[in-house]
Amino acid sequence: MKTTHAALAEKFIADEPRTNWHDETLWFVREKRDKAAHGLPEWEQLREWGSQIKNHTLSNLSNYLKEFEEKAVANGIKVHWAADGDEHNKIIHDIIRKHNIQKIVKSKSMLTEECHLNEYLQEHGIEVVDTDLGERIVQFRKEPPSHIVLPAIHLKKEDVSATFHEHLGTEKGNNDPQYLTEAARQHLRDKFVQSQLAITGVNFAVAETGGFVVCTNEGNADMGAHTAPVHIACMGFEKIIPKAEHLSVFLRLLARSATGQPITTYSSHFHKPRPNQEMHIVIVDNGRSRQLGREDFRNSLKCIRCAACFNTCPVYRRSGGHSYHTAVAGPIGSILNPNLDMKANADLPFASTLCGSCTNVCPVKINIHEQLWKWRQIIVAEGYVAASKKMGMMGMDFLLSRPTVYRFAGKMGRWLMRILPFVTNNKLNVWYKQREMPEPPKESFRDWYLKNGKTNKK
């Protein structure tokens, strides 16, 4: 069933007005991020601090994890370790069985998406209600989220209205977001007050105090966690930060980078279960320790899941999250997923123009576009690339390593495109799909520079 980014993107862009809307909406979010960032003179310093704190954390990670565990246990939290997604799901399933739990609410956690927790529990006859509004919408539609911060960004209000009409009995054709949100509020409040288990993600876990922070705008994590007698928080081990004071750096960066808000409405700091409550933390590896050992890619573990790299990415904006066929889409997903399964995700590092915009906005300074490029080398070397792309890459490699041949080929290409445009403007050239080929320049940049660059200098 799995297919490639290019094929899925083709489906997405078939609806041109919707593609344009998607593109413009995410760009608008990117612009809000810029405004928020520019509002702080120390923004670049904050990014540098964020990056260095994360570098340091990764360099001392095993100790910080032990410290966190020790403090959390002392706080009365039960700590579990899961080597992979399956172990993570089993740990949660065991807790559910032990308490004979029927009613489960879950707030946003990309980790549980990565581990396919909902599907796993469903196979065992257990239903989980996603409570983030966007996640509830896509859950009703049996779709995965298409964005890690804005899960239903691929949908229009008409779609939501139709979905809610079917599942919540809202008025047919009433597309008012206020009305639809109110319907979800009533529906989910009902779920919250009856919940027996709340599952949440973790934004930051503090080694020094053994506590963790969960950020939401809707308040859904809190509504569940403070109601249910059992709370399970799931985290990838890279969520650790050394000290509480470091939260200031990350909370300042996170919401501004994500949506341009100065902070999320709720930044909840959990340290101890309330009386008679059981609180669990599941610490998950699932390929992360392997990524930590890959020198070129370990930086990807610094990610705080703000999605700024999604919103700015020209490929993501025009191909939609589902075209990445993985839980975490976008540029960062294209670095993380080949580590999880290189063969199945071999197409993803190629779903990029390598323009570097992602790297420029990343609040923790991950060199995203360089890592994408590095994955391409590995994927080609491992032989996981489609024949057509491989030929092209081999050809490029041949050309780029031989300057004289390159120059000659450029001349030939320009000449060909002018004299015989149909050679490039045809169906065999994938670059011609949905595009007109540009007018070829009369001379190469090199020729132009040799002529003009020299004369401009005295």
Binding site: E42, Q45, S59, M223, I263, T265, K272
Partner: protein, 194 residues
């Protein structure tokens, strides 16, 4: 080998060489001439309401009027009147009917409009989230410029739970249209005393 050992061993052998934590020079941080004015501007831009009051007198009267209205109103501020301590043991089903809650905050943050509230100030962890309308009271002297100073002034691990709350609950998950009142409070009014 347990999963724990397996993971910790793999991490220990794969983690890079030790690098230093940055020294964070707080002198580079943004400063506001008037932290209250900044706090108010930001909080109003994210859907909150802010009122400066000289003393608690006005609020005491408001609380009495609110209680007399017959709505379920919870007071968690000793300085305003009798504490509704009974809500500490209330379930979500009980608290769902709370129309309004009065809660004291410890620190306000000018750069983002957030207020830190300790669990003990909430009476019940669920209260500030489940109430329909949230009233928060802070002292003007408790407003600091940024999160850095806020974390210096609080101890996140002092109690079992605490939260920064910035305005009412909201969502933009339907076509990016902002809607106030997602799952939590539909309105948040912050009274600044000073």
């Amino acid at each position: 080998m347990s999963a724990r050992e397996k993971i910790l061993n793999a991490i220990a052998s794969n983690q890079p060489e030790l690098t230093a934590l940055p020294l964070m020079d707080k002198n580079v941080l943004i400063r506001y001439e008037d932290v209250y004015a900044q706090f108010k501007t930001v909080l109003e831009s994210i859907g909150g309401k802010v009122k400066l009051i000289p003393s608690l007198t006005e609020l005491k009267e408001q609380l009495i009027a609110d209680k007399a209205s017959g709505n379920f109103v919870v007071n968690a501020i000793a300085d305003l009147g009798k504490l509704d301590n009974q809500v500490a043991s209330f379930t979500a089903l009980d608290l769902e009917k709370v129309e309004k809650a009065y809660i004291k905050g410890t620190a306000g943050v000018a750069e983002n409009g957030a207020v830190w509230i300790y669990e003990s100030q909430m009476l019940n962890r669920l209260l500030p989230f489940i109430c329909q309308h949230l009233i928060i009271v802070i002292d003007i002297a408790a407003i600091v410029a940024t999160m850095h100073q806020a974390y210096e002034n609080i101890d996140v691990a002092k109690e079992g739970f605490g939260a920064f709350i910035a305005g009412p609950s909201k969502t933009a998950d339907i076509e990016q249209s902002l809607v106030i009142g997602a799952h939590g409070a539909r309105s948040a009014t912050i009274y600044v005393v000073g």
